[in-house]
Subunit: 362 residues, 2 copies
């Protein structure tokens, strides 16, 4: 189904994992100076990175967190514990360097690209802020679609172009972070539509709802689905009907990263909902996704499982901003480094096993 | 019970967590620009670091992996898939920089101190190797004690002195890594004696035993306990009877780190067995321990639970060398950095909650 030239071409450019590179990486893992398999998921991860990059010993040199902000008309339904003006305030905090993502990305050696995809407030000019402003907050999904088809296409295109630009600048590891008061509500709607799980399963407490707030929020999610009837097989339709501007841009980043044969780290629930939309548009894109952490939000594991992803960390986090993804970046780099930089048994002159030793001495 | 002047003084120097520092850290966490608790275990960890260091905003600047090697007479029972000459070969690999721990410690920005506590082979002089050589491998624990009382005391003292020296040099985060063919067998014996879990529960496949090998190994562990009858309440006695030279030195490192108010990272099963001995000698020492990862070895979780520790990572690793501890170091640093470097709501001018906002506007 044609969407736009850029999106269609991007989807066409997404291929599966490079099997030859993975075979070479697997063979090298078994020759490294350690019992086979003893680095556990670091070994699997290194082999998948080889498949994504199409290189037997992938190297990660530059890293970027794409941090996208947007507001949500559905806050009119009273689904968030925080007021909407926290969105622009937190964007200013990102630009000032004081948020968790600033600390965590800095620690991981990653740059941050901050995009205003649709904050419902004027933000001052700032050299680190990209004022895309696809709208001033989405419309209220409890009463109609979040955005127009044109806006949804623009979201995806901005994300694709951002990923392309980063990859052209030498970035090999991207991460998707979000900011937007109310954005767990559209994320639950997306997760329910695409995975088929009921809203009372995919809806969580967000930034801190009580039991009554949680029940109300699940009802709003259900209403947004009933009202809009999104087509679960059509990622663009889901984005239009129950998405968000930041979610759409992030979906584009996933597609662009996958098309560019680079790894992209899924953060928490909202980042995962964006990944679900990218996956609905191009299922093979998920080969390039690395799930960083298991969010406390209950819909996150369901979303990740739907894409065949298993998170690396489970630390009870629920912040968003790309915080879990940035925290995980050093682990992803470590997996690649063990594959490329450890010596082999032959190089080190270490016996591989008693059987080999006996053979050698017999 | 007096052991030696150095050990007795070290045990005396181990105190509980600094409650005032923890209270200050907890208060600061709740003022940082994020929903309270949204950084999950990073928040708990930062508060514990505050308690260990006795500082409201602890900073980690220098890191060291203490990597200790030793051999085990119990290999005569055929309990390892690898020949004993792998121990010195791997020590040479550590010195050459090609092992997993070299890659992972380098990635984490940590130095490595390599100690030959009791390898059963001559090792060449090397500027990076500390040739302590408490023995040439332990005696076979299936037929008698691993070592003499004097050797066990020397192990602990070497470890304490190493930790003291590192802390004096400004190291704030230590990690305990091991190398020694056969050392999961004494570790299972230690875990069974100290936690009370049966050998068939604490015994695992080590570097790669098959089912018959596993059953035989559990029987050897049981025999070593029956033969030696270690006193579970006496950490020194457990070390003498069913320990290892590298395990004893690491137990000393744990004690020295705790006495010096610095955090020390537990790696996998052997590192955990050493921690159990330190914990048996001085239960309060465990306040300074941070469990890095859940090893595949079944006795590891039992050991960690016994000390009230919950691992941060669960990545199916089973290598030792301090590999899981080094992999975890960036996460521990991230926890401290979020606490110290994020801005507060007041500093950033961000609303804390809708309730506050309503109060402010009413």
């Amino acid at each position: 189904m044609a969407i736009s030239d850029l999106i269609d071409q991007t989807v066409k450019d997404i291929s599966g994992l490079d099997q030859a590179a993975m075979t070479a990486a697997r063979a090298r893992q078994d020759q490294l100076t350690k019992p086979p398999g003893s680095l556990g998921r670091l070994e699997e991860l290194s082999i998948r990175l080889a498949g994504i990059f199409g290189e037997a010993t992938p190297r990660i040199s530059k890293k970027t967190v794409v941090l996208v902000a947007g507001d949500h008309g559905v806050v009119a339904e009273g689904i968030s514990a925080y007021p909407q003006d926290v969105t622009p305030a937190m964007v200013m905090n990102f630009l000032g360097g004081g948020a968790a993502i600033n600390v965590l990305a800095g620690h991981a050696g990653a740059e941050i690209v901050v995009i205003d995809a649709g904050v419902a407030a004027d933000l001052p000019d700032h050299p680190q802020l990209r004022p895309v402003k696809i709208g001033r907050g989405t419309d209220n999904i409890a009463v109609g679609p979040a955005m127009s088809r044109e806006q949804a296409i623009q979201c995806l295109e901005v994300g694709i172009e951002t990923a392309r630009e980063q990859i052209a600048a030498g970035v090999d590891l991207l991460a998707c972070g979000d900011m937007g008061i109310g954005n767990t509500t559209p994320s639950s709607a997306i997760a329910s539509v695409i995975t088929g799980a009921a809203p009372d399963i995919t809806t969580g407490r967000g930034t801190g709802l009580d039991d009554a707030g949680l029940a109300h929020k699940a009802e709003v999610v259900q209403r947004s689905i009933d009202t809009n009837k999104p087509d679960a097989k059509n990622g663009l339709d889901v984005l239009i009907k129950v998405g968000g501007f930041e979610i759409g841009v992030l979906a584009g980043v996933y597609l662009g990263a996958a098309a560019g044969n680079r790894a992209v780290v899924v953060d928490g629930f909202i980042s995962g909902a964006a990944a679900l939309i990218a996956h609905a548009i191009a299922p093979d894109a998920a080969h390039s996704f690395i799930a960083s952490h298991q969010s406390v939000e209950p819909g996150h594991r369901i979303s990740l499982s739907h894409m065949g992803l298993e998170p690396l960390l489970d630390l009870g986090m629920r912040l968003g901003e790309g915080s879990g993804a940035a925290l995980c970046m050093p682990i992803i780099e470590a997996a690649a480094l063990c594959l490329s930089d450890m010596t082999t048994f032959a190089e080190a002159g270490v016996s591989e096993k008693i059987e080999d030793d006996e053979e050698a001495s017999s």
